[in-house]
């Protein structure tokens, strides 16, 4: 028996699954659209139900209509909650990814490659909605601005105390020139360096460098 709210529930089940994943599964564009459409339809129903009353509806005089209105209202409210919770679960995840230093582009690549092939059906595009990509970018800007207040502390640095101050790294992707305390290093693919861990932690997390040994 398909009922109002069923689609919203599906969305929340997606959210539930998302909570236990490390990556972000594809955005459910179709489902979100269907739930919003349902709300719009319900709203139309309410408007046409109330129309004959010309703004002077008395619930106790017409219980059947009052009940139908209540059911419609509750269905809309339910859908709203499902939609908000779904998006909130995803933005929470996005914020987490920003703090971990992931890249939207990286993310898209990872999705298309399909960690276990599951995300392959999302097409070549990103698993984020355009709005989510905006959110991701702007949250990233906010975080950088916040971090900029402290030049001697890296807020997103690793919490693990390093065993060695310096490490050997190999460059997996060209990462350009970086500035360190000991001068500039030009990170070209396949080269190897002995560098201070703190200087390159971010680049390792982003997959530009690989730690050796």
């Amino acid at each position: 028996m398909p009922m109002y709210g069923d689609l919203g529930n599906k969305l929340v089940q997606h959210a539930k699954r998302t909570q236990n994943l490390t990556h972000l599964p594809p955005y459910q564009t179709e489902l979100v659209r269907a739930v919003t459409r349902e709300v719009r339809d319900l709203d139309k129903d309410v408007a046409s139900l109330l129309e004959p009353f010309q703004g002077s509806f008395d619930p106790s005089a017409d219980q059947a209509t009052a009940c139908t209105l209540l059911v419609n209202h509750l269905s809309m409210r339910r859908n709203k909650r499902c939609l908000l919770a779904y998006h909130r679960t995803r933005t929470d995840k996005l914020e987490e990814l920003v703090w971990n230093g992931s890249d939207v582009l990286d993310l898209a690549g990872q999705q298309a490659g399909g960690v276990n092939g599951a995300a392959a059906d999302s097409g070549a595009g990103s698993s984020l909605s355009p709005q989510e990509e905006d959110y991701f970018r702007q949250y990233g800007d906010l975080l950088s601005a916040y971090k900029g207040q402290w030049t001697d502390i890296d807020l997103t640095g690793s919490l693990e105390p390093p065993r060695d101050l310096f490490i050997d790294v190999r460059v997996l992707k060209d990462a350009g020139e970086i500035q360190t305390e000991y001068g500039a290093i030009n990170l070209t693919k396949n080269s190897q360096f002995y560098v201070r861990q703190g200087d390159v932690e971010r680049l390792i997390a982003q997959g530009y460098l690989q730690k050796l040994g």
Partner: protein, 194 residues
Amino acid sequence: MSYYDIDAILTDAEKIPCTFQVDIPDLGYLDNTPTQPLKAGTKVNLPLWLAEMLAIANTGDVEGKSFVSFDLPPAMGNDVVQALKADPRAVPLRDQSAHFYGLAIHMMELSEEQELAAALRKTFVTRASEVALHARKVGGVGQKGKGEEGSNLGVGGAGEEFLRGLDEWERKLFRKAHDGAKSGKEWMEGVKKH
């Protein structure tokens, strides 16, 4: 429980048996007959998010009756409760409802069933200590199961059947207890090394 709580939202989708108290022409679809009016006395299973409000909303007439009356869901039916009273650990709650306790809390808010409430409370307490026991076993004796990340419920061994029957709340409890024991152990090992 927050507005955004995914488990709370899923709990709200659990259905309970309701009986309509008034004729409602436009709601036939709730009884799977969209073209027919919904007659007073019709029994329909409604999700909590709908049933709860319909049950407490006043129709506005003098007797102050509600749109629907409701019964306890089968998950809280007499045979289940009797089984729980006999041995809470022997009942796979998950088969009754994936959100058994969440559902129970809602039902207890709607009705005054002192005896049922007491039985459920005892069920939780008894099962919680059993859950904690299993969780520590998995975390303590060097990872013999595949109980690493994600679902820790494929542990194998004696408790498997019991753990399979945990409802969502108990699963969370299990995971917390398990992760806690594991982190504790890891920390101790770290202390020894340095």
